[in-house]
């Protein structure tokens, strides 16, 4: 079957994935702060619906109605808890946690309820819930709206964590997340919403736990997460000009993690740099470094290097915020040092 390829933004690709899955499965519902927006206020016209703070879900309430597209109060503990309950009792909710930084408010519902139900009920209960949430610095949104924090979720058993870096991956991975029978958190980088790319039309599913090689190379493997894939791609251009061929592995999901692809790439290049915008301690980056140290030690021809955010919250000062985010220049400098 020929699949037409056309350009969508990352935001449009997410919208398309939700709409197609809501059409396909009536159990799929959408809930969160302002996901319908004005559409659920009686005196406002349906076509003025906001569709979330960045308008990603704008239009869904018109197609699927107020019973399936629910605006919630500004109480994450409440509506995430309601979503866990709905998922456990037969629906397949997509709940939007506006900024990942708010997870603390509803953490009990996520890690102590949703993530543990299947295990604690001996497999008789499940929680087919998708939590969509925004991550990433770069918009001047300050310390409480700019973190990544997917490492915290990846740490907890029972939660699948998805970190799409392109429009096509966003559609394919979100579709797989909605169809998955466990709690999946999809981390959408707010700096990528406007990015365009080719996205397959119709059904497009990317299995969770399958990494993607975004660029092939021979001299060094860069495992880059979410938006950092693009920082790494820019760095790879500079490195190419210096005669260094970088391979870029996008894990796409952190839990489950595609160990095989990472290890195979390191076995080819013998050098590893991990680029991660999350804070550096007990993180996805250190986890991948430990994996390679354990299972590919004798493949390594240089120390594993991490290029990450510092161990601080995201600063509000624009220059400091730019300094906080791993840059192509830092990646290049690290790799040049690594190549000796």
């Amino acid at each position: 079957m020929a699949v037409a390829i056309r350009q969508l933004t990352y935001g449009q690709a997410i919208y398309e994935a939700i709409r197609l899955e809501m059409r396909r499965d009536p159990r799929v519902i959408l809930m969160g702060e302002d996901v319908a927006g004005g559409a659920t206020i009686d005196h406002l016209a349906d076509d003025e619906a906001w569709g979330g703070v960045l308008g990603v879900t704008k239009g869904l309430v018109q197609e699927f109605g107020r019973n399936r597209v629910l605006d919630t109060p500004i109480t994450e503990a409440g509506f995430i808890g309601a979503a866990v309950g709905a998922a456990t009792t037969g629906l397949r909710p997509i709940a939007e946690l506006m900024f990942v930084d708010f997870f603390g408010v509803c953490w009990d519902m996520i890690f102590d309820q949703g993530a543990k139900l299947r295990y604690m009920f001996g497999g008789k209960a499940s929680c087919p819930l998708v939590i969509r949430t925004m991550i990433g610095a770069g918009m001047g949104a300050a310390g409480q709206h700019s973190g990544c924090h997917y490492s915290v979720f990846t740490h907890m058993p029972g939660i699948k964590t998805v970190v799409p870096s392109t429009p096509a991956d966003a559609k394919g991975l979100l579709t797989a997340a909605i169809r998955d029978d466990d709690l999946v958190v999809v981390f959408e980088n707010k700096m990528l919403y406007a990015m365009s790319g080719e996205v397959p039309e119709g059904e497009h599913v990317i299995p969770l736990g399958k990494a993607d090689i975004k660029r092939e190379g021979d001299d060094v493997t860069i495992v880059a997460i979410s938006r950092m894939v693009h920082q790494a791609l820019a760095a790879a251009e500079t490195l190419e000009a210096n005669g260094i061929s970088a391979e870029i592995v996008d894990p796409r999901t952190l839990s489950p993690l595609d160990e095989e692809t990472i290890l195979s790439s390191v076995a080819k290049t013998h050098r590893l740099v991990i680029v991660d915008e999350d804070n550096p301690r007990c993180s996805a980056a250190t986890d991948i470094a430990a994996l390679v140290a354990d299972k590919a030690f004798t493949e390594l021809d240089a120390p594993v290097k991490l290029v990450t955010a510092p161990h601080t919250p995201v600063p509000f000062s624009p220059p400091l915020e730019q300094f906080y985010i791993p840059s192509p220049e830092r990646i290049v400098a690290t790799i040049l040092q690594l190549m000796g």
Partner: protein, 450 residues
């Protein structure tokens, strides 16, 4: 860090060595370069210098005992280093383990070094790895080194902070393979002239170039090269106009041949920038002309029944050489080359006949002969130049040389002179073992053990 002194390997055929006498006793301090032990092989007896400064801590192989090449014969502790007997035992066990692994790696079919190849010709001194500093190598380099049988203590790291990486190990394995491989015959174009040559021996060893005489080829050294290839990086060439090299119509004067030799060495690469030269007969004069023009490029100069040290040369030999390359002429010519008629084998006659029958061979030989020896006398005289020669010089001659008189050996009044009894113009063939021993001791003087 303690150093293990191993039985050296002199020559391709050396398998074991006999410890004649330890020149130092256990507990004696030793300086790097001091003679420490006298070793006898089938071919030669030599003193082995201490590779390091420290204390002779333990003797593994005592006076009168033998050991295989590369087996440990002693342990030298570093200055101030205290080694218990247990630590010495541990060092030797680790060394044995490393050699066993290396041998296994060499025998594996997919190892980089061909199975059955001679064990490393170099590496008679290895840094011990277990008693102190740790080698800075990446995990991947360590694994590869084990797979390829490369001793990491001999590898130079080029990674971050001087760390040894995979590429360093691959380079070392390639170098070792080349260094321990059989001699290779190759061809190199120099100024558009294809030169056939043979190269062998460890890459990091002192470099020695062999230059044959008029009417000869590199095969003149066939009884000698194997004796040197274990200890030296050697090269022998067919000179322009000779052997399997091109034979253009060109200037065949001694000066021109010396200049061509310089360009050939340049083409061989920077490792051949400065060399020791061994020249026979006309090749000796070429070596002398080279040394005159490029004294800084010559480390040691060895002349064998050499031209260039007087005007006499036998006219009959020259006439026979210039005549049609018929077996009877060559046989008569060779009879004058050797003291013993039995040396003139029909195989040799046929080999020379074929070489001289190649297109251009006779013209080149005539041109060379005319330029150097026209009118039945030598035109180039380097005695004045040798009078100012200060680098090591060896002059070897057969006492019954009928081509260039043995009196020329002493005419230069320079250097070490060795007259070998019972041989003619080609002592390197007629008394190959004696010649090799003399030449080895000359070339090996002051040369570092590798």
């Amino acid at each position: 860090m303690a150093t293990i002194l191993s039985m050296p390997k002199w020559g391709l055929s050396m398998k074991t060595g006999l410890v004649v006498e330890w020149l130092k006793h256990v507990g004696d301090g030793v300086q790097e370069g001091d003679p420490i032990v006298e070793i006898e092989s089938e071919k030669a007896t030599n003193e082995v210098d201490s590779p390091t400064t420290g204390t002779l801590r333990y003797i593994v192989v005592n006076d009168g005992e033998s050991a295989a090449v590369s087996e440990p014969i002693a342990v030298i502790s570093a200055p101030g280093e205290e080694l218990s007997d247990e630590q010495v035992d541990a060092l030797l066990r680790e060394d044995a383990d490393q050699r066993r692994k290396k041998a296994e790696a060499l025998l594996r079919p997919h190892a980089a070094t061909p199975a059955g190849a001679a064990p490393s010709a170099g590496a008679s001194v290895r840094a011990a790895t277990g008693a102190g500093s740790r080698i800075n190598a990446s995990p991947a380099a360590r694994r590869l080194a084990q797979e390829l049988g490369v001793d990491l203590s001999t590898v130079t790291g080029t990674g971050p902070g001087g760390m040894i990486g995979r590429e360093d190990v691959q380079r070392a394995a390639a170098a070792e393979q080349e260094a321990t491989s059989e001699a290779e015959e190759k061809t190199l174009a120099v100024d558009g002239v294809n030169i056939h040559y043979l190269v062998a021996g460890p890459l990091r060893a002192p470099h020695v170039m062999f230059v044959h005489g008029l009417g000869g080829s590199l095969s003149t050294w066939s009884l000698n090269l194997p004796a040197f290839a274990g200890q030296f990086r050697i090269c022998a060439l067919d000179m322009v106009g000779a052997g399997a090299s091109d034979k253009p119509a060109t200037d065949y004067s001694i000066a021109a041949q010396a200049e061509f030799l310089a360009r050939f060495l340049d083409a061989l690469g920077p490792d051949w920038r400065s060399v020791s030269l061994v020249g026979h007969s006309l090749g000796g004069a070429v070596a002398l002309a080279f040394a005159q023009r490029y004294p800084e490029r010559v480390e040691r100069l060895a002349l064998v029944d050499s031209a260039g040290l007087g005007s006499d040369i036998d006219a009959t030999v020259l006439d026979l050489m210039r005549s049609e390359p018929k077996p009877e002429h060559i046989r008569a010519e060779l009879t004058l080359f050797f003291a013993h008629p039995g040396m003139v084998q029909e195989v040799l006659v046929e080999q020379i006949r074929q070489q001289r029958s190649q297109p251009g061979a006779r013209a080149a030989l005539l041109a060379t002969s005319e330029a150097a020896f026209g009118g039945g006398r030598q035109h180039d005289d380097f005695r004045e130049m040798l009078a100012g020669w200060t680098k090591p010089l060896l002059i070897v001659w057969g006492d019954a040389d009928a081509v260039i008189p043995v009196a020329h050996a002493r005419a230069a009044n320079r250097g070490r002179v060795e007259v070998l009894a019972g041989c003619g113009h080609c002592p390197h063939i007629e008394r190959a073992d004696a010649f090799n021993q003399v030449m080895l001791s000359f070339l090996g003087e002051g040369a570092p053990l590798i």
